[in-house]
Amino acid sequence: MKLYCLSGHPTLPCNVLKFKSTTIMLDCGLDTTSVLNFLPLPLVHSPRLSKLPGWVSKDGSANLEKELKECAGRVFVDSQPEFCLPERELLDLSTIDVILISNYHCMMALPYITEHTGFTGTVYATEPTLTIGRLFMEELVNFMERVPKAQSATCWKNKEMQRMLPGPLKDVVDVWAWKRSYSIQEVNSALSKVQLVGYSQKVELFGAVQVSPLSSGYSLGSSNWIIQSHHEKVSYVSGSSLLTTHPQPMDQSSLKNSDVLILTGLTQMPTANPDGMLGEFCSNLAMTIRAGGNVLVPCYSSGVIYDLLECLYQFIDSANLGTTPFYFISPVANSSLEFSQIFAEWLCHNKQSKVYLPEPPFPHAELIQTNKLKHYPSIHGDFSSEFRQPCVVFTGHPSLRFGDVVHFMELWGKSSINTIIFTEPDFSYLDALAPYQPLAMKCVYCPIDTRLNFHQVSKLLKEVQPLHVVCPEQYTQPPLTQSHRSDLMLELQPPPMPYRRCSVLNLPHRRRYERVYILPELANSLVPSEIKPGVSLATVSAVLHSKDNKHTLQSVPKPPPVAPSKKRKRVLEEPPAVLAPKTLLSGAVPLEAFLATLQKHGFTEVKVEETADGHILHLQAEDTLIQLEEDGTHIVCDNNEPLRTTLRDLVLRFLQKL
């Protein structure tokens, strides 16, 4: 059993598990933090961004004026943003049989894997994961394609050149593997390979293993996976949550008794409690609106935003914000809000029951009805005529490098009465804000990450008790900035096996058993004999037949009848020859007792010699050898059949017969 680790990002994993004869990819997350090195893509021409000076090294030896721009002491690549893909050199991606997706955040690299690599397998995901994942991909493509950039900067990636660049560009690795966004055709093609599964549905892979998704409680349709054969069980835990938010609660008990548990997707903000952050979000929002300012919330178009809207639904009345408009701007805003309402079976119990009232599960429907929440595909069009300030705007992309959020940053960044509230934990807010400096706008960082924290995960592991745990190396030590917080790491016995990008782990579990089926007629012919109460043995002679990883014992084909003759009847009358089992012997011959018996029977001159496997008894008078070994006894005597028989009978006295 081997694990190939293609991504080093703990919450955007991409691992490949080789188990029995299958090759299974677990998630294919796309690390988008690379875009932070790029200049934002403005929707409307931005004089500020276009006037940024190009970068020239101090000694003038490196001139990348066209490709790199300098802003507030940092250097950014002026090109279409590129993403850091999962490692593609570690193993041949065309050999992958299936890809299991755990949630819509962890599938963004799918087109890079399924297209142009020779991949011919199947992707398994739940329906909401596919639907919302598609929305995310379409949004990403839309964000990129709507602001086309002819130029693709590559000179800076030159090794010699990169060495001269200032940090953090200087330190980024594998820049040649960075890729621009995929196209909508690639998205469609990739997603056409997805096969839908429901929670606890069992999918057979080549008869070798069975995979099954379990609810993970993190987002709509999010799942953990169980990969098991008859005798081995591997659990794959990706983004999971134990908090009561909108999705169906996490199924913990099915993870019990795993031989190996691969643990990824813990919270990225172990010190930020989601409840506290939600409170922080609300009070900062109210504070800004009361002071007449606008609030910008850079966010993904699905997920936490549902909870934010639900929380605000309760909060706006108590905070007297009833008249403040809330805008949700995204190419997929409408679909996201509507899809969330129809996935009733994937929601928490509370919300499921609302469907029967009938009431929409999420209160954002009411916000939309009462015109408190309005959604638009982009800032162009209807929005510009409806736009009223002060207001609250939810829009993407959380990296602040593309999407409508760029426009609002340019619009509101100069005034200190406005506030930007970061709620997505994926990006460092300081890095996200870097190309907008100097910034007068107030910044509030309330990352809401509902995934498991270290406290919850150690409790979970105590309960499900896996034999071995594999996890990203980041989880095995305290965070760099808080090295004294030994409570913010995994402490297990035995210690977890850490992995990093490009690791290949030999999982410690050894396969010891394989299930073999026995055909009924063959089973019928067995004659078991009880050797101790409850345990019976039988000998079997059969042909082992293996197909599709299934092993079957079949009866030995009878030799074809010699010829149809008169003897046939006699042959049929002889079955006892087949049925009567040969007696089998078991047990060991105790040396002392055997010697005593020999003595009694007149073999007096016995010389005992100790060997590696047992003893050799030399009956000197008879010039005969008896070799007593662990798995056999040999009597060597020349042409003295009576002696051999006597000796054989003496040996047999000490053995049991089946």
Binding site: G276, S283, H484
Partner: protein
Amino acid sequence: MDRECALLLPGVCAVLSGSGSSLPDDTSLEKLLDWFTGITEAGGSLLEACPCLLKLISTVVHNAASDPGVLSFALRLTGLLAATEESFETIQEHSVLNEVFNLQHWQEAGLWEDPCLRIGWIQGLRSMLQHPKALSFFVQSEFIDPLLQLQTDTSLFIAAAANQMLAHILLFFQPVPPAGCKGVDTKEKDDGMTPSSTDYTAVVKSISGYLKESLVPKESKNVRQSLQTLKLLALLLAQAGPPLRDKLLQTVGDSLEELVTAGSSELTLPLMDVILSACSSGTDERITRLLSSMLNINKPADLIHAAAAFLRRGQHDTVHTARAVRILLLPLDIMTGQTLLGTISTADEHQFSVVEQLKSKSSCISIICVCLSNTPQITLTPPDVLPCLPVSIVTTVLSLLKICSGNSPSSSTGCSEVSRNVIGSGKVQKCALEALTTLTSSPGAKERISEVFTVLIQYLENPDSDPTVLHKSYQALLKWTSVCTDFSFITDQLRHDLVEVVKKRVCDMRWEVKDSTVEFLGHLAGVCDSIKAAAEECDSSEALLGGCSTTPLLREALQDSESYVRASAISALAKTLTHRWQQGATLTEEEPEIVSRLLEILSQDSEGFPRRAVVQYFISWYSSHSPPSSSSSLLMQSVRSVLSQGRADLDWEVKVHTLVLAELLLDEAFSGHPGYKKGSDSHHAPPHAYGVVSEQAYTLHTHTATHTEGAESDLAVVVEQGVVSVLLSGLVDCDRPVALKACRLLITLRETVCPLSLGALDASAAMATVSCELPGCGWGREIIKILKMKKSDQAKEEDIADQRGLNGAEEGADSVCVSVCEALRSLGLDERMEVLTQSSDHIHNSPLSLLQDILTASATHTKPGEEVIVDCY
């Protein structure tokens, strides 16, 4: 005992002698006993007054079918009756005592199993044991052993009562030292040969023998007995005089030593109690040694509790105090890495075991909390006892607070395995904040004020702080602000942070947090005002909030959806503006808006708290304003609305507050008047609104001074302001506190403008012309009814015109005018006052009513079918 009761009592006795099961409710017997006790305590002799009681006792005791409750009552009653020597003898003559307390009899009858009877037995004896004869009886009857057995009774109440009883015997009869202050008459002790002396010696001998025996648990299940014994010993040692104390210590000394050595965790605290009690009553080498051993036991958790118990007793034994202080500081030292104890050399092994203990989360939290709650006391111990400067303890608490919030930059000095246990622990945070609040008074604390503010602001800022933690942070901030005389340490950054965090917290999702924040703003204004008064430094109020006006925040909070927050915002606004009012500052632009919002709340808010707060706002405005100011007209205008709305409110507290406001107006109007007694009501305010008001009967001012000119114009002013309407409507209010207050104020008013002593005709004609309008419905109608009733009672010389007017009022719903003086004189205020001052259940609470209840219940019981509804007050 009044005659009526005396007449009823034999009947009641007869009822009780019966089965007793027909009692109206199970508290009747207790009430009867209370009544009897009251009579005895007042010096009356029950036996003389009610000879039937003795008969009752002997009947009940002999009646095999008596209810255990009644039996218990009889036992306790016997004790009560025999509490004086005289009656004791009388009862002895009737040979009742032996029967009543005959243990064997009860055991044979199988009644001893009933806890009711056992407690009756103990309490009966306890009441009786007030004189040497009783003691002799007690000793002769050999009750001491059964009593000792009851000390470990299965019922906790009985066990406790037995303990109290044992302590009572030893302490009450102990020989009085020459300068004695308590105990029995000295004449009996003088010769030392009175019977009681030998009896006492016998009792002391058996009890101390028992103590010695039962102190050390033989098996683990006997721990309860040891616990009880330790409690008894602590009781005894705390009050015993030297001979008894010495005797006791001599007897139990070895056992105590054995217990200390055994070191059972369960017994640590009670044992410490005993040792400390012994210490407090005298010095003794052995006890000192025991104390030293207690402060050296090797179970860290027990040791810390022992040390804390020692410090709490506030004893001034330098050596042990120093030891206890070190014990309590060690966990904090380990946790924070602050070197509180200097270099630890000898105690390394001990430190190791403390560290081990702290590694377990639950015991870590409990130990740290104990240590924290003792820090304020530690800082107040003499400097030569402290291993560090008091100010380092403040620093330690601060760094603990930082660790708790996960903000500690690095605990390289502290033990990280230990400190992780308190990260995020609300319990430790609260304890530490409480300690920090109290530490303001420790020497040198002010040096750390800047750090304190930084940490507290961090706590307020922390999104994970729970509402209680935030509340305590605010309290600490206020306390530290109040002791701060110099605000120069507050950097602009701190000021800015505080303003920002307060602005954020008033928008919090949780109403508790909003409420604490708003309250904080109000208190801060109060604190700043007092500082200002002290330092006469006008800009210090702005020192903390950097000149940021809090009024807009509070105004916003007036709109809050939670009524508590609205109420707190209103009182905070009042506190914030008080200073301006006092100075007679000109009206700001926002004040009229605030006032109109407040009046809106008073008239429309569905919750009581904000409405009460509104009236109080105007009370504080009115009482602090200086008359010639620009705000006066706005104030007077609004006061009028407040009076008319507050009067009609549904909440009785709003009405009482409205009456307080009316009182202020009265005070102002008549303060110059010689007959007016200002604040005549405020001293009589009952501590609790529903409480019985009987502290002081209301005294009438029987002055006869002539009225000054202008009293009628003052009266006209208060009528015009609506004060009289408020008082009159209050008078007929169905809520007693409202009616009571109104009645008092009306009497004050009457005594000022037209005292009864002057006679109706003497009242100046001018005064009589001042009249007020009564609405034809509601309270007006009630007042008219009373007036009319009084009039018909009075002589016929009354003005017919008036009569007509009143009749007219009843027919239609039109309002009528009545002369104020006339009304004040004819409302029968004094009788009303008398009724109102009695608590509402005074009728149902009397002994007479109790006796009647018992009789009625028994009558019903014998005649089934009729049901009596007992008043269940």
